[in-house]
């Protein structure tokens, strides 16, 4: 049998070798891709698909791994982790790192670092660093700076493209900082985004009183409330259904998990239809009881109540099932002993059942809190919210942090301010980590892992 070098050294060697293999493979993939492009050029619009890089990289990674595994046998333990780690690096870590970077930039839907195709300008002639165009270069390219000083540009031919920087632009001449690598036919302006330091965070905190703090408070109330309104009815139902003498017990149990089984994207939209002020069946029913129409979705405070009502409907089956599962682990002789000692039903409940439920329930409660803290689907699917005076359209009555971040980053009324959205995401991340640390502390999950 083989043995890994102990401690940090073994870890670093393994990580270094695997990382090296991945980097070499990726570089090889890129090289092959470029070689292919250079050998058989294709028009810019229909270039070779980028996934060829992945295929080339995989082709060379496998032999590298086989050879490495022969030379360094203990590395094969890591091969079991390699698929998961590779996917995690590519599709989780890389996006996170990029998002964190964007959080410190003014990246938006417009300033996205891409060439602006509406500024397409024909190049008439090229002389050294100078590109000659027909007309006023500054107006054609719609530069941000006077004379296009320092403007990033993209130059293309039919099969090639490159990014360059303008030194200045006068009437019909664009002067680049360096001669172009090929003779270009077209030039575009690139909508650059810039590094702005902590300005996004400063913006969030400068308006904290009107946006961040109210949203955070509601977020915590919503998460706690959603757990509460799901767990209490679920607990009661579970306790009632645990009665082995109850007829139809299995039927109730199976029938009542319906709301857990319907996809959220469907059930939340059904509820928003049912909660309509004038036409919704819920208000109609309450009308029969003598109530005036309740502005479920048109009043900011009632919108929050609606969110909790939907949470109740969505959440109780989970808690009912969890209660029944936890109760099934309590042995019957405990109850028999209590009966012999003369305890009545209430005493058994408060003295035995509830204390015994506490242990399995704490992690479930904390997990559910963490889930509802970022319950994007529910709040987002409830649709447009009633406005609140003095708050931006991205953070309305019932918006929680994650919907605020999403609307800021991806919706037109948030200006697709991706940098700002990224900054909010970082805050959410820190809060979620804090919640999870509390969770782990209570449940001791991390100690157990060791």
């Amino acid at each position: 049998m083989y043995r890994s070098p102990p401690g940090a050294r073994g870890f670093l060697i393994a990580i270094g070798l695997l990382g090296g293999a991945l980097i070499v493979a990726t570089l090889f993939g890129l090289l092959m891709f470029w070689a292919l492009q250079a050998a058989f050029p294709r028009p810019v619009e229909e270039g070779y698909p980028g996934y060829l890089i992945l295929i080339f990289a995989t082709l060379v990674l496998i032999p590298i791994l086989v050879v490495l595994g022969r030379r360094v046998p203990y590395l094969t333990d890591w091969y079991y982790l390699l698929p998961a780690i590779t996917f995690l690096l590519a599709f989780t870590v890389f996006p996170i790192v990029l998002t964190v970077y964007y959080a410190f930039t003014d990246y938006t839907g417009i300033r996205n670092g891409k060439p602006d195709r509406s500024t397409e300008t024909q190049i008439v002639r090229v002389e050294g660093r100078q590109l000659f165009v027909d007309g006023n270069a500054h107006d054609l390219l719609r530069c941000d700076q006077p004379n296009c000083a320092g403007q990033a540009l993209e130059i293309t031919t039919r099969t090639q493209r490159a990014r360059v920087r303008a030194e200045q632009a006068t009437e019909g001449v664009i002067t680049l900082t360096a001669p172009p690598p090929f003779t270009p036919a077209l030039v575009y302006k690139i909508n650059e985004f810039r590094f702005i330091g902590f300005r996004n965070f400063a913006e969030i905190f400068s308006r904290a009183g009107t946006v961040l703090i109210p949203v955070l408070i509601w977020n915590i109330i919503f998460a706690a409330g959603a757990v509460f309104v799901g767990a209490i009815p679920g607990l009661i139902l579970g306790l009632m259904l645990n009665n082995k003498n109850l007829a139809l017990r299995g039927f109730y149990r199976t029938a009542l998990i319906i709301s857990w089984a319907i996809p959220v994207v469907i059930s939340v939209q059904i509820f928003t239809a049912m909660l309509n002020v004038q036409f919704g069946p819920i208000n109609r029913l309450l009308g029969l009881l003598g109530a005036y129409p309740i502005p479920w979705l048109t009043d900011p405070e009632w919108f929050k109540m609606s969110a909790l009502l939907i949470s109740l409907w969505l959440g109780f089956p989970y808690w009912m099932t969890a209660t029944l599962g936890a109760l099934s682990t309590i042995p019957d002789d405990v109850y028999e002993a209590a009966k012999i000692d003369g305890a009545n039903g209430l005493q058994t409940l408060t003295g035995i059942t509830l204390p015994l439920l506490r242990q399995p329930f704490i992690p479930l409660l904390l997990g559910s809190f963490a889930f509802n803290f970022n319950n994007f689907g529910l709040i987002y699917l409830m649709g447009p919210q009633p406005g609140v005076e003095g708050r931006p359209s991205t953070a309305q009555a019932a918006d929680i942090l994650i919907t605020w971040a999403y609307k800021t980053a991806f919706q037109a009324d948030g200006g697709q301010a991706y940098g700002l959205g990224g900054a909010i995401s970082i805050l959410i991340f820190l809060l979620t980590v804090a919640i999870s640390l509390i969770n782990f502390r209570f449940t001791g999950a991390l100690k157990e892992v060791r």
Binding site: Y48, Y51, Y80, T99, Q278, R284, P295, P363, F429
Partner: protein, 442 residues
């Protein structure tokens, strides 16, 4: 000190409850405008009747229990209390009310799906003698029609071999259901019995046929006008993407969970922490970055690209759950095999994988169900009606540029939730055990 802390905790809780009851709720009630829109049926003091009806029902239950116990006591000459029977009756009453609460949205959506008039937002009340129907609390069943469903299936061409596959698949599913019912009646719990194996085989056949159908259906077969005629195609797309994502989740997490559970390599613990904490970053806010990545790979608007975009979010949880599962299995068998000269890979494939089937099913199903109702990422990565998923299509019915089409939405919801409902009820056992095992471990 602790007594003081406990006291102040309860005091704070009491203050909060008092605030909610005496300040917040009255302010909520004050926000209701005391006027009735046209067509709104309001019964002054209707709650008195409702409460009266409820009390009457309770009284009837008590009376029935008393009488029933009296008769039984007379016959058997015993003196039993009738309160347990009252308790049972009240429990059933309560359960029925909960059932109504749980199924009321289902009833409404079913009714809307069979109603061609798109009645949700109609001012005129239906002409009916029943107060509940006139108030539109109960749906108006006077005009049932399949029109909404027909629109969803408009212009679909099914090739004969597909029809045959569909038929065989449906028969397999029926066989599975019949066997499940039969085995429940004869009390056969083992999956290794004759009927159990037959059930397993027909389920596998159904899954394979379903997968083949999903792969072989092409967009050309949907010739109907209008977006809604592509609904079946959306279901097919969603099933395809969810299925592949689920399989990928199992493939990626199985070996990683095995390594974490059984190997003792340096760096295991920190790496495990990385796996956990990375997942706490709100995944879809990395969407722009993922979008750039997928776009550079040339996989935009392909299902491969979408599956890859999902793949980042599925690793940690599955690894964690599978690791927990393996740790609950005794190591003795593996150790014996290792002493006999088996390699770690052989131990994994020959010993552990067969044992892990239920856990793989759970991980697959969880991913499948989760992906099925996802629409945010799909919305970004897929363009064009032909590659939409169910979630995107349903959003389109309620938020599209055309006015809200509740009838179509309802019909599509009913059909679209069927695969998940079937999966959920069919594999209820896996869900319940997997969820509780996984979350207790967490």
């Amino acid at each position: 000190m602790t007594a003081f802390l406990r006291f102040s905790g309860w005091a704070a809780l009491g203050l909060m409850v008092a605030w909610v009851l005496f300040v917040y709720f009255p302010s909520l009630l004050a926000r209701i405008q005391p006027n009735t829109p046209p067509g709104f049926v309001r019964v002054e003091n209707g709650w008195v009747y409702a409460l009266g009806g409820l009390l009457l029902t309770i009284a009837l239950i008590v009376l029935y229990s008393w009488l029933a116990t009296l008769i039984v006591n007379r016959r058997t000459n015993r003196k039993r209390s009738f309160w347990p029977l009252v308790g049972q009756g009240l429990t059933h009453l309560f359960m029925f009310m909960v059932l109504i609460f749980a199924y009321y949205p289902v009833l409404q959506i079913l009714a809307a799906s069979f109603d061609p008039r798109n009645t949700l937002y109609r001012i005129l009340p239906p002409a009916s003698d029943n107060l509940l129907v006139r108030a539109r609390v109960l749906p108006d069943f006077s005009q049932l029609s399949w029109e909404n469903y027909i629109q969803l299936f408009d212009g679909i061409i099914i090739y004969p071999y597909q029809a045959l596959m569909l038929l065989v698949a449906a028969l397999c599913l029926l066989l599975v259901l019949a066997l499940a019912a039969y085995r429940r009646i004869i009390g056969d719990d083992s999956s290794d019995s004759r009927w159990g194996r037959l059930q397993g085989r027909s389920l596998t056949a159904f899954a394979i046929l379903g997968f083949l159908l999903v792969v072989f259906i092409s967009p050309n077969q949907f010739t109907g006008q209008g977006t809604e005629a592509k609904f079946v195609l959306w279901v097919r797309n969603t099933l395809f993407v969810s299925g592949i994502t689920g399989i990928l989740a199992v493939l990626l997490t199985a070996t990683a969970g095995y390594a974490f559970a059984r190997f003792d390599f340096p760096g295991r613990y920190p790496l495990l922490l990385v796996f956990i904490f990375i997942q706490m970053f709100p995944g879809f806010l990395g969407l722009v970055a993922t979008y750039i990545l997928i776009s550079n790979l040339g996989l935009l608007n392909t299902f491969t690209g979408l599956v890859l975009a999902y793949s980042g979010g599925i690793i940690s949880f599955g690894t964690w759950v599978y690791k927990g599962f393996l740790e609950s299995i005794s190591k003795s068998l593996e150790e014996a095999a290792l002493i006999d000269g088996a390699s770690k890979w052989q131990v994994f494939t020959k010993i552990l994988m067969p044992l892990s089937a239920p856990m793989f099913v759970f991980i697959f199903l969880l991913q499948f169900v989760g992906t099925y109702s996802e629409f945010i990422v799909a919305n970004l990565f897929l363009t064009g009606v032909e590659s939409w998923t169910v979630g995107m299509g349903l959003r389109n019915f309620t938020t599209g540029q055309f006015s809200t089409r509740w009838g179509l939405f309802a019909a599509a919801s009913v059909l679209g939730s069927l695969p998940i409902l079937l999966t959920f009820y069919g594999f209820q056992r896996y869900f319940v055990s997997g969820y509780t095992a996984g979350s207790v471990k967490e």
